[in-house]
């Protein structure tokens, strides 16, 4: 990585962090135009840094999606209404999923959308709506220690990123990723075909016509399934167990009746005291 790229990256983090500091909710300020401007500058710097690093394979799609993801994430953090935060996060997830598709992880992208956007975030929205039906509360209008928070987050990541990028560069320069190449070569030798871990999924317009007969391997999904079902079998089963435990825990928790503190429960009518009809 060139020093120019590195300093641009630092500049992006500094500008973005400062911008975020101004953008975080604060009722004592007016419209955070300065923050927005600084943030925009930060984004520009980031794009410049990307351009300076300039790997092959990053095209316009990456820039657009990455900017969308970042912008939406900033809005998640800075929007005073939790519902909007959640909705912006949906957009972030969609952008991330699209980025995954760019990296040949279609299955992961679908899973992200189905699980994250379709299930987890719906639940978030559900809870937000249940818990907060009126407009933004004082909780959401004021941030807590915004300066230190932003510093903590951005300093950590700036340092790690710069370091990781340099390490990546040097490892690539020192002969790339031998493990990957060796594996590709051996897999190719075994199967007599290019190791199609990530099926070469070009645009449908090119090979759609050739897909007349069903193929044995259904691309990324099959390969990923194979990996998860073999190498990560134990992890898979453990995560299943984890889900089960979480499910039981969540059910146990939410079934409990919790009286609001300080609230006096009305006396049950005579003859009904102590007897409740359980929820179906």
């Amino acid at each position: 990585m060139t020093p120019a790229a590195l300093y641009t990256l630092y500049a992006a983090f500094v500008l973005g962090g400062t911008g975020l500091y101004f953008l975080l909710p604060n009722p004592d300020r007016g419209k955070p135009l300065a923050g927005a401007a600084l943030g925009a500058l930060g984004l520009v710097a980031l794009v410049v840094a990307w351009a300076l690093i300039g790997d092959a394979g990053t095209g316009a799609a990456f820039y657009v999606l990455g900017l969308v993801a970042l912008l939406c994430t900033v809005r998640v953090i800075t929007h005073p209404k939790p519902v909007y935060s959640a909705l912006y996060f949906v957009l972030t997830v969609l952008a991330v999923a699209a980025l995954c598709v760019l990296q040949g992880a279609e299955f992961l992208a679908a899973a992200l959308v189905i699980i994250y956007a379709g299930a987890i975030l719906v639940t978030y929205v559900f809870v937000i709506m249940l818990a907060q039906q009126s407009g933004p509360s004082s909780t959401d209008r004021r941030s807590r220690e915004p300066f230190l928070s932003v510093c903590a987050g951005f300093v950590t990541m700036a340092v790690i990123t710069a370091h990781a990028s340099k390490a990546l560069e040097s490892s690539v320069a020192a002969g790339g990723t031998p493990r990957a190449e060796a594996r590709l070569a051996s897999a190719a030798a075994e199967s007599g075909a290019p190791a199609g871990l990530v099926e070469d999924e070009a645009k449908p317009s090119d090979d759609g016509a050739k897909r007349s007969a069903p193929k044995p391997v259904t691309g990324n999904a099959m390969a990923l399934g194979g990996a998860v079902m073999t190498r990560y079998m134990v992890a898979l089963q453990l995560s299943g167990l984890l889900l089960l435990i979480a499910m039981v825990g969540a059910v146990a928790m939410s079934r409990k009746r919790v009286p609001q503190e300080g609230a006096v429960s009305p006396r049950a009518p005579l003859g009904q005291a102590g007897r409740e009809v359980p929820p179906y």
Binding site: V125, R211, T218
Partner: protein, 411 residues
């Protein structure tokens, strides 16, 4: 230009525009169709004033939606209020992109466009996009459709709308699970995630998946009803309880978009059921409806067959709607979590077992497995203490168990 149209990309664009337009038109006539079926069910005439047989009625309805004042109430969250029908419309509209409408098309048989091509030189897929995670795409899109309803209900800032939104949210989350599981049953049986391959496979073998997994087909149909918010699962808009549910505050074009979304999702889900279980564009004994027939005429025939099957399914949707009473919400949840989820889980596990033994294509084995799961479900259900109808009976039982006089409970 001429050459661009016979590449897959160009053809997909054309097809997308075409299908989109057809579906929008079809939605309008779906409403007419529905009103006619409702009338038929209730032994009356239905729309018969505008045009012959009332055929112009949908156009009148559409015009009414467009020309009404597009009013936004003052107490709503304006951005989301506007956004919600848009989300609904878009999400319901892009699901069909993945559906295979007619197998392969030999571009050379296209009149004028393909005149410069040799036969078989360029095969086009009659499908807008072909993804290797095809069904997952559809599931992802469907899982997004809940946002339209939820946001619409919430942003209306109206108690009834909010209840509708909450109900829709819970309902869609619940019914997505059996839906996904039954789709996975088909995926396990067919060994692919691509819808066009599933359709082609059924055509090639002549065995529709419904013959293998009738129970799964039934569950998928039920969940499709629920996902489309159709009666008897229209809890989110139950007029008698919630005025109009999540779209109480909506009118004019925005209400129309909700309407469009609902019917479009009906069409998409029926098409999904058709492709997964009912052989897609395939009918036995017709030479035009095979994989090998790739001429433009064969493709048109296939598309017609597909549309016909979808129309039949939509008829069933409407038939169900006008015949069955609406579920109560607890019954709805119980149906999903205590009946459909266990059954589809059982089917899924059984299908995986069949795959392990290499019997996943065997009709007899699949049917046996379905029968076992159904029998198990019936056995469990018949032993259950809670009847599907009613909490009152439940209360009585409870009272009997606790030695409480019945009269006391009832009061």
């Amino acid at each position: 230009m001429k050459d661009f149209l016979v590449t897959q990309f160009g053809f997909s664009l054309v097809l997308a525009a075409l299908v989109f337009a057809v579906i929008q038109g079809a939605v309008a006539y779906c409403i007419y169709y529905e009103r006619k079926i409702a009338a038929w069910t209730q032994d009356r005439y239905g729309p018969n004033r505008a045009g012959p047989l009332g055929l112009l009625q949908p156009i009148a309805d559409g015009l009414k939606f467009v020309f009404k004042e597009d009013y936004i109430p003052g107490h709503v969250d304006k951005i989301l209020f506007v956004l919600a029908p848009g989300i609904m419309f878009v999400v319901c509209g892009i699901g069909f992109l993945i559906l295979p409408w007619g197998g392969q098309l030999d571009a050379s048989t296209l009149p004028w466009l393909g005149s410069h091509l040799q036969p078989g030189e360029r095969m086009l897929s009659v499908q807008v996009v072909s993804l290797n995670v095809g069904i997952l795409y559809l599931l992802a899109v469907m899982s997004m459709s809940v946002y339209g309803v939820v946001l619409g209900g919430w942003s209306s800032n109206n108690k009834y709308s909010f209840y509708g939104a909450m109900r829709a949210c819970a309902q869609m989350l619940a019914y997505e699970i059996p839906m996904g599981l039954t789709i996975l049953v088909v995926v396990l049986t067919m060994g692919t995630l691509r819808l066009e391959e599933i359709a082609a496979e059924q055509a090639a073998s002549g065995v529709w998946n419904v013959a293998r997994h009738p129970l799964a087909a039934l569950i998928l149909f039920i969940t499709a009803l629920a996902e489309a918010n159709r009666a008897p699962f229209d809890l989110a808009e139950a007029e008698q309880e919630l005025v109009g549910g999540y779209h109480t505050e909506y009118g004019a074009l925005k209400f129309g978009l909700f309407f469009l979304g609902e019917y479009a999702s009906m069409i998409t889900t029926s098409a999904l059921v058709v492709v997964l279980f009912l052989g897609g564009w395939h009918v036995w004994g017709v030479s035009a409806l095979t994989m090998e027939a790739t001429s433009i005429w064969a493709v048109l025939a296939k598309m017609t067959v597909m549309a016909g099957k979808v129309a039949i399914l939509i008829f069933v949707y409407m038939w169900v709607r006008w015949s069955l009473p609406r579920f109560r919400f607890d019954q709805l949840m119980r149906l999903a979590w205590k009946s459909l989820v266990p059954m589809s889980l059982g089917l899924f596990a059984a299908a995986a077992g069949l795959l392990y033994f290499g019997l996943h294509r065997s009709i007899a084995a699949c049917l046996a497995v379905n029968a076992v799961v159904l029998a198990g479900a019936v056995a469990v259900a018949s032993r259950g203490r809670t009847p599907i109808t009613g909490r009152q009976a439940n209360l009585v039982r409870q009272a009997a168990r606790n030695d409480v006089p019945l009269a006391e409970v009832r009061t």
